[in-house]
Amino acid sequence: MSARENVERAIARAKEHESFHALLHLSEDAAIARADLIDAQESKGRLAGVPFIVKDNFLTTGEPTTAASTMLASFQAPVMATAVEKLEAEGAICIGKANLDAFAHGGSTENSAFGATKNAIDQTRVAGGSSGGSAVSVALNIVSFALGTDTGGSIRQPASFNGVVGVKPTYGMVSRYGVVAMASSTDVVGVLSDTVATSELVLDIIAGRDSKDMTTLPDFFAPLAESAPRKIGVIKEFMTDAVDTEVREKTESYIAALRERGHTVDEVSLPLTKYALAVYYIVVPAEVSSNLARYDGIRYGARAEEATSLDSLYGLSRDKGFMPENKRRIMIGSYVLSSGFFDAYYLQAQKVRTLLINDFNALFADYDVLVGPVAPTPAFKLGENTDDPIQMYLSDSMTVPASLAGLPALSVPAGKTGSGLPVGVQLIGQRQSDAMLLALAREGGA
């Protein structure tokens, strides 16, 4: 198929599935023009003519970048995110921008200022989030892959909810230049895709050191031709009664298949699992309050024109530009960083984070891979958790541990519940073991 045929097919599918609200922007004309250009080229890149979608917190030029917020509703990015630039250099064609929770704050894509994305399998349920639009775009077969970001589960959980592959790479593997910052110590750029092989190809292209992002590591990623027998630990704290029965059953079946393929599987303990969510909801709001301080209505973004003083210009622009969840996180961050509370909350959380990392390291002395569910439930109903932030946060309880430790983690489709909802299983490895994890998932047929 020509690049143009590929792009036209993807755009037609995107339009057919508008009711899911997976996309905030479709770049039809620009994408077709690029496709014609690629069809006319003699030397083809590794992704020549392959359409893709990016979460709308990646800066792309020539179309809006909104982070699904009113603050950036009309923002036109002056630069291109490195990950997008690298994909386009290999001939891939970005056809649009995917919906998310505003500023990636959320686990359902219901916090988007432009309306929720609906689950690809059941429109009465959430897409998951915050990379909900990316996951649904892949699940609906609009594109074979989409870029997302994962700060505490934002790629893995929507991948699980929609039955696609989701990869959160090792912290520092992929450049974050040109990505709207949320919590800088755990934010990573990753991929949602139809198959593991697609993710491997995309990661091979986007991984590596970037002089524009000082936190990137030298390129260590090289896909492996095949997997080898591994020592695998099932995290018992991820398999408690708090986790939906069918989710546990699917995880058990996946584990049984690992044993049949010759891997050694034991039950292991990550005792601090219980506290990881509390660490996350201190550290992340603290970093959010700092990263979102830049939105002041002055240099870019929405400005409250009625403001008469500088203080009210800041205050009103921010009150109008942020969603309730953004405000909650900013204010929690201000609280845990303020004098008098800093030691008890922020410092204590960063110390417990050290203990959690120590627990992981102890396990990785004996095991190559850790396994468990991605989320405690399949996709929940739209509106079910919107009134209770803690209930919404609990959806992240098994994804945040790997984020706090900077570990690579995948969500791999592991079947469907009796009512047809997808369930993902999570594979977690040591830092820089991304290729090994992906090969293991590929061996399992994903």
């Binding site: 509390a278 500088l310 803690i390």
Partner: protein
Amino acid sequence: MTQISTDDVRYLAKLSSLQLEDDEVDTLRIDIESILDYVAQLGELDTSGVEPTYQVTDLENVWRDDSVNTYGVEREALLALSPAVDKKQIKVPKVL
């Protein structure tokens, strides 16, 4: 149980440069109280002698040349993003 008053919420809003509507203050008070109550469980753990972890790359002091790099973005392009510009300056309400 962590107690947060509406005055606390207004103070946090001030620290955060958020000019909240009155009806937002009550909802935020309840939410912030329940979140702080949840995260307070970390107080159960003994962390004496434990070093905090602020980042996980092991990278330290990554240097670059001390030279100007515009990353391909010109001044005009950046000024064009501002809601109010006059004579190549960004306009704001009176400060003093």
